[in-house]
Symmetry: C2
Subunit: 329 residues, 2 copies
Amino acid sequence: MREKHVKIASTGIYVPPIIMTPEDFEKKTGIKVDPTFIERTGLKVKRVAPPEETPATMAAKAAEMALERAKMSIDEIDLIIVGTDTPEAISPPTAPKVQALLNGSKKEIPAFDVNASCANPAYMLELGTSMIKGNAKYRNVLLVGTYAMTRFLRWKFMWEWIFSDGASAVILSESEEPGYLASKLRADGTFWDYWGIFMGAWKPISEQVVDDTLPYLDLRRAYPPVNDQFWPILIKNVMEQAKISLDDITQIIYTQVRLKTILDVTKSLGLPENRTHWVMDKYGYTGSACVYMALHDALEQGKVEKGKVVILVASGVGYQQGAIAFRWL
Amino acid sequence: MREKHVKIASTGIYVPPIIMTPEDFEKKTGIKVDPTFIERTGLKVKRVAPPEETPATMAAKAAEMALERAKMSIDEIDLIIVGTDTPEAISPPTAPKVQALLNGSKKEIPAFDVNASCANPAYMLELGTSMIKGNAKYRNVLLVGTYAMTRFLRWKFMWEWIFSDGASAVILSESEEPGYLASKLRADGTFWDYWGIFMGAWKPISEQVVDDTLPYLDLRRAYPPVNDQFWPILIKNVMEQAKISLDDITQIIYTQVRLKTILDVTKSLGLPENRTHWVMDKYGYTGSACVYMALHDALEQGKVEKGKVVILVASGVGYQQGAIAFRWL
């Protein structure tokens, strides 16, 4: 049996049109965003989904762009995976709604949600790749990250400045040459109760509807700097597995939540600043969507060199982290 | 390259201790459950998680039983997938909490949630199998289905009689001989808004907290008989792919929501009644947990013949359906 290979065939994004500046935020909330916070995070604006946009509609738009760029029809997609921790609803999953919006229901394309919170971009790539390599049925897999965290804000804390809305998509396809090279995922559930939207089955809903902190995003305990600590370890791990050196890398793209961490990690690896790319300055923090968004933008700007390696690194609450390396074919 | 094979190495369940009879339900709600409804569905009792049990604690207990039966330590598990549409919380996912409860955080075992609603048992088997076959890193994958739908009930409708709580687990392992034979998944997102817990990012939470139908399970439109219609088609599809006949089948195990459908489909296939197994009479309907629960119970009762084929068939809102065939090694 010949080994199957997998490549990233195309990308797409959807960014909602509403741009909120720190001044707009102050007008809405009465809170001035600390300029040093903006500088450290790199989050210069917020993008907010208008009322008619939802995680599913944004996901469908990002997916349509990825299909168009791959010159593919939805009928050629064998599986749809949607990654989000801001779903349309607690149940059903968001993926079948996206499938229907893309007109994928005619061919009954299997669709399901994945939730590794904002580590979804890395986890979905690992999942999609393994499904193509491990099962002849799957040749083209559509991955969509979507995020509508502004829906879960109370608009009364400065940290709520962080969160934006948006979606992004990747199409993974079977390939002649190896795109996918290596990956490393990790998780540590002892951090489960630090940050989250803590409404769910952990206690009767009747008790939750009277606790008005529960349906909202809540930052309950400060996270230690797990990205500063583990991103270099994850990157070195996949480099070693893939037997590549720093010279082989064209881009390392990270969860877009804190620019200072991205620049510090880039420096600590011994890479120049132009070997990473960021979009939080124009799109804000978009969680499950941000890594493919930054990849898409880097591609648009010609910053991804063919034949070289892209490493995608993602982190999310719970928590989960992952890094995954693809040669750009 | 030699093809990797995958088998079901063990199973485990957790059933909460509280048993609710139709009489108890009537006492709590003032609603008498129609005896013909009980007969058609086969749902003779409800199992209700006590306040201290949650989707994660039940999942961990089912997983512990599966580990014990496989004579495996958690350190031998390479990946944890939790399938639920009644998560602990909207975010983070339930899986890292289960990982921590199982003491899997020491080894940083990757963990994520899957949501194909109550089709999770079939979707997770497809995912776990593909990950083992497609990626050398994954040799033992822990799948857990968990369900705490009683948490989302208003206790004021007769149909709420259907829903119970519980969890079940399967360990998938690399094997010499093929366990996994074939699968067929499908989805149709045009049914997205029929049944669900419609609290989520589809509109601002501030509007949702004042709509007291939203955080609860809501049956908004009647489903057509999609299981009666598609289960036989899915089963015949996997039988054809696996090149097996009815004589090769030891058990076909279905989503445990309506006994009449299970018996009708069994008969339409030309199989005797003892070639399926049900547990809804003692455990109620447990959604993402019910298929592995029934498999576990069939194994306990010696109803699964070695060398023959088990087909697992699952359905869930959204909707998704799937059938997957394993030779019992």
